[in-house]
């Protein structure tokens, strides 16, 4: 797919550089009862309100009376704040530089070595390895037989957990298969860490869960939530950013010659146009007041904040919102990713981690002798996570 002119900014005749927008427009499915909010200001106000709760993504089915069995994604208020605070340090800019950066470099060394040996490889396989290794360090999944096997086992659980299985028989088979896959993950990856951390706690999510006496179910849920939230999203984003950079030589040149700040600006602008998560649902537990149009909520009302719309809201992007312009955020004095990592108490804790690992990945990959995108990805829609998936991209480089 290449840049399309037709849907560009009508006033400024700007380009539409988005690759995922058409597919998203055709497939996005906000919850049935939800009012869609597309304004950045209103969305931000709602997400920051203390009167709203998580909704959608199965939030209504979660048993909040057992907080030790559910991911903090579904918690709100004090319980949520306490859990976020306990792991906040794992995501701090300083921790990224002093600790996670080494994991990123090490993973990239092995990805590059294996790519050079093979000559070509599926890009989403490489980006998955990076996403898994980095998230695994944060979660504490460090006692597996190998990181490649860990990546395979997590992929088996997460990728299949979002597939459609309409018939009853298929559903039963699917459930049995899932139990086996989750069982393998528990036995080979989670249990060894739990035992190790009981003896000697470290600074990671599993040590925290062990200290707080999480149930087996709670530990599996939390570890897999991090997997879904941190690994699947980053895998797609790395491929999307690579696709843009392979396709646009001037942008690639700027990326490779720029300093870290400029590289981040480029990546954030790509993420603004191609947000991996598209919709955030919230329900108001009481009426909320607002000075922003569309920002007020009635008691019990559910809204669906459209990240895609908020990210191209001209009030905050300035003109030509569909154009890839890495200088935009600085010019507009806004955070670069706009709404792509959400906002408010549930804002993605892994935002900086994801941007760093994507930067490290692409900086190393794009400097490889003979590097090229041999096959462009197919862009698919995953209805369960309401986001795009890029499959089939192949990168090749000089062998040696």
């Amino acid at each position: 797919m290449s840049t399309v002119q037709a849907r560009g900014c009508p006033v400024h005749q700007g380009r539409d550089d988005r690759k995922s927008a058409r597919l998203a427009d055709a497939n996005l499915a906000p919850a049935e009862n939800a009012r869609v909010v597309g304004s950045f200001a209103a969305g931000r106000e709602i997400l920051r309100s203390s009167k709203v709760r998580q909704a959608g993504a199965g939030a209504e089915m979660v048993d909040l009376s057992r907080p030790d069995e559910i991911s903090f994604f579904f918690l709100d208020g004090d319980q949520h704040r306490k859990r976020r605070a306990a792991v906040a340090g794992l995501f701090a800019p300083k921790t990224i530089v002093t600790r996670h950066r080494a994991v990123m470099d090490r993973t990239m060394d092995s990805i590059i070595a294996s790519l050079q040996e093979r000559g070509a490889a599926p890009l989403d396989e490489l980006s998955w390895q990076m996403a898994v290794d980095v998230a695994a360090e944060i979660i504490g999944l460090t006692e597996s037989d190998s990181n490649v096997n860990l990546a395979k086992r997590v992929r088996a659980v997460l990728d299949s957990s979002v597939s459609h299985n309409p018939s009853m028989l298929k559903k039963l088979l699917f459930r049995a298969l899932m139990m086996i896959r989750v069982g393998r993950f528990w036995k080979h990856d989670l249990l060894p860490v739990i035992e190790a951390r009981r003896k000697e706690p470290k600074d990671d999510v599993i040590s925290y869960m062990v200290k707080e006496n999480y149930s087996r179910k709670g530990m599996i849920m939390e570890a897999l939530s991090y997997g879904g939230a941190g690994m699947m999203t980053t895998r797609e984003f790395i491929v999307m950013a690579a696709w843009h950079l392979f396709e646009k030589p001037a942008l690639r040149e700027r990326f490779l010659s720029g300093d870290e700040e400029d590289q981040f600006a480029i990546l954030e602008e790509i993420l603004r146009l191609e947000p991996v998560a598209s919709l955030l649902h919230r329900r108001a537990v009481e009426k909320t007041d607002s000075t922003t149009r569309g920002g007020a909520m009635a008691e019990d009302e559910t809204v669906c904040i459209s990240i895609r719309d908020a990210n191209v809201d001209e009030a905050i992007t300035g003109p030509c919102p569909f154009e890839l312009d890495p200088d935009r955020a600085k010019r507009m004095k806004v955070v670069g990713p706009y709404m792509s990592f959400g906002d408010g108490p549930h804002r993605c804790p892994g935002a900086q981690v994801a941007l760093h690992e994507t930067r490290v990945f692409l900086d190393r990959l794009l400097r490889l002798p003979g590097i090229r995108l041999e096959a462009e990805p197919d862009i698919l829609w995953n209805p369960q996570i309401q986001g795009y998936e890029l499959r089939g991209a192949v990168v090749a480089c000089d062998q040696g």
């Binding site: 704040r81 906040a88 340090g89 800019p93 906002d343 804002r347």
Partner: protein
């Protein structure tokens, strides 16, 4: 509008006309204060909007809130006047406030 003075680690100063009702961080960004990074856009989740409030002003700006503690701790910044500027709302009481920005926000 209230006047707020930012002093950078190298001693250079900039006084801004800050708007009441929004955070000190938002005012700093709008006025191009370089020492404020604010990666998370004001959610108390990045710790890159830290300021060191001058001793005379600490009673007015208030103490570090529970929301701010985790990221301040993670940053390793132990300055007695440290606050996250995204959690300080500008009000007329802050007329003349003086804050310093740390050498690095990482």
């Amino acid at each position: 509008m209230v006047a707020i003075r930012f002093i950078a680690a190298d001693g250079s100063e900039q006084t801004i006309d800050a708007t009441c009702g929004i955070s000190l961080m938002e005012n700093a960004i709008a006025n191009g204060i370089e020492g404020i990074v604010a990666l998370c856009g004001g959610n108390a989740y990045c710790g890159t909007c830290r300021v060191h409030v001058e001793p005379d002003w600490r009673a007015v700006t208030g103490l570090v809130t529970e929301m701010e503690e985790p990221m301040i701790e993670a940053s390793g910044d132990t300055h007695p006047g440290v606050r996250l500027s995204c959690q300080i709302e500008v009000s007329p009481a802050l007329e003349g406030l003086v804050v310093r920005t740390p050498e690095s926000q990482e």
